[in-house]
Symmetry: C2
Subunit: 382 residues, 2 copies
């Protein structure tokens, strides 16, 4: 009942990426084979994926992996992980050839038939996958390109956008008009590398909560403002970040981020969207959104829009997160405007959700807040 699936049409960017990925796997396997044939112990050079090997350069715009490497040489102790690494790479190669994919969880289960090389825990297969991903990243290729997909949901999209996808089996072109879903929305797939876009939008609005997304979508906020609404649903998933990044790059669009006014909204949601995360530095270059700017809600908005009596006191976790951001986060350290904003928040001692604007009426956000903010994008936090 499974159809093997025609691979994507010849000459597409996807086909070129697939060819590069297979070439990378073949090159690595070839090196091993050569070592063995020359009577040497085969070895792999892997980037060190720890926080100590991460740098942030404001101009580059994302957390980046440093040059530290670890060398994994075949020995009695490493034989198992060596075999696992090779088998996982072979699995990736087969999946590319057959135009298939595996979630991280499935990849773990696939190993159950590998005899002694089987993974006992998913943590093991995830770690090996991260190593392979780091190798691929050095070649400009992401894990999705190796056909290992995340388990988690993408976000939702509505507005002035047509997504150009393909029938995964026949390769036939598919057009998805994101204006045409009524109160519903387009769910971002787990891999977005092959998607192309057509749009007349002027910006992307990336929204923290589902409730706010639904409000803006139901009132077709995107129609008059000519924008694309993306629901992040908390910290955006890899697929959502990559979708926004590719949209921003290929369609030359700025991205305005609209979250709650709290340290989680700043340091977890916005910062991850914009520059990536510290413990996945080997992939941030694909997943960061350099053109993201923070629209709000800002601490100053709490004052300017009279939200004080709709705030909540900062909790202990909020305060810790804010202090951590000031002390340890190279992104915030590089932006004095963010330092001021976080200090202001700590001084005020309160946080405000984006829904707090409902205090002035359910649609105050559409009638007042967003128009006033959008009139002055240069005022957005960097």
């Amino acid at each position: 009942m499974v159809r093997k699936g025609k691979n994507v049409a010849a000459g597409t960017p996807q086909e070129e990426l697939d060819a590069r990925t297979i070439a990378m796997i073949d090159r690595l396997a070839g090196q091993m084979r050569e070592s063995i044939e020359q009577g040497e112990l085969p070895a792999m050079r892997l980037p060190v994926r720890s926080l100590g090997n991460v740098t942030y350069d404001k101009d580059k715009g994302y957390f980046e992996l440093g040059r530290a490497e670890k060398i994994r040489t075949l020995s009695v102790n490493t034989a198992r992980i060596f075999a696992q690494t090779l088998r996982l790479m072979a699995t990736a190669r087969t999946m590319i050839a057959q135009n298939d994919f595996a979630t991280k969880r499935e990849a773990y289960y696939v190993s159950k038939n590998w005899g002694d090389a089987r993974f006992d825990e998913q943590a093991e297969s995830d770690a090996v996958m991260d190593d392979i991903e780091a190798l691929a990243a050095a070649q400009g290729l992401s894990r999705e390109q190796l056909r290992f997909y995340p388990e988690s949901h993408g976000g939702s999209v509505a507005g002035e956008l047509t997504v150009l996808d393909r029938n995964p089996q026949t390769g036939e072109a598919i057009e998805i008009d994101c204006r045409g879903f009524g109160n519903g929305a387009y769910g971002i797939p787990r891999s977005v590398e092959h998607l192309q876009f057509r749009t007349r939008a002027k910006f992307v609005l990336a929204i923290e909560t589902g409730g706010m997304f639904q409000r803006l979508n139901s009132h077709r906020f995107w129609e008059e403002t000519k924008c694309i609404l993306v629901e992040m649903g908390g910290v955006p998933t890899r697929a959502t970040r990559r979708f926004i990044r590719r949209l921003s790059d290929t369609m030359d669009l700025p991205v305005w981020c609209f979250t709650d006014c709290d340290p989680y909204g700043f340091a977890n949601i916005y910062r991850t969207l914009k520059v990536g995360s510290g413990n996945a530095a080997h992939i941030n270059r694909f997943f960061c959104v350099p053109r993201a700017r923070y629209l709000g809600v800002t601490p100053q908005d709490i004052i300017d829009f009279g939200l004080k009596d709709a705030t909540h006191p900062l909790g202990r976790a909020d305060i810790k997160r804010a202090r951590d951001a000031l002390k340890n986060d190279p992104f915030f350290a590089a932006h004095p405007q963010w330092i001021s904003a976080i200090e202001q928040l700590l001084e005020m001692g309160v946080r405000a959700e984006q829904q707090a604007l409902a205090k002035w009426g359910l649609n105050y956000v559409i009638e007042e807040y967003l128009p006033r903010k959008l009139a002055n994008p240069t005022g957005f936090l960097p």
Copy 2:
């Protein structure tokens, strides 16, 4: 910038529901007013929403609220909650008239302008909303009909289905072809009451995990089997449950549920989908899916499909949940086949995820497992 939004077209089921909802609110308000004019203290009769007031009748097919009532009479102690209840009902009435809605969180914030009647915590507004919902439920109306929407996501849909929605602003008809999303999917909106359907599908397949949904969708499993895939993403949300229920009712479709083989998959995901939840008994009649049957993964499947070495030992929480289901859950108590299955699971001492089928190859689930199961729907657990 907000357009008030034309209400739905005259004579639609939605308009009739709206009229009934407004009539209910007006009747209640009228009774209060009458009491006051006659010099009596106004009172509200509210169903008791506690587990003690819940019954399960196999033929009805859902957890149901009993007849116990509480009477809330206006007094010095109840003045605030009395005012809050009336204001929240007035908010619902306005939203229906303006074709708008509020998430539960927004409804809480709206109260910040009510002076002394403001809610201090969302828990307060949620409790009052539950009371109003229970009142409405007695009239066959749900909370969504009062225009209070849940914050959480709906599920995703792909396959042999066209959803008929309307442009929320103009009322214009919109057709959403769920075969046309490539690797993406249709995101279920937060309120589905107004949707209509067109389909040639033979069944609905409700799937626990996003990864499995993506696999079946990417391989267009729905095409040859003529089905509709719904991703539940764990315990299905209200919107997802109601969507499946309406689909099953209006299109006369059976619903096959495909989850992990563990007590969470049985007792939390499947049981909630089929009969609802114990602590929201006043609404289960709208949200249950009586035609749901459990396709798998069953404990017997672990044996029949050779999954033993891809299982995990039952954890303490699993065992507790399984024992609770056997001891305290009227749904399982009413079905001897379920009692046997749960006892078998406890005896085997292991659980299996739906992804465990990947042990036999990534697409074993499509090539072997599902065809064998689907050939014998009468073997599904009730």
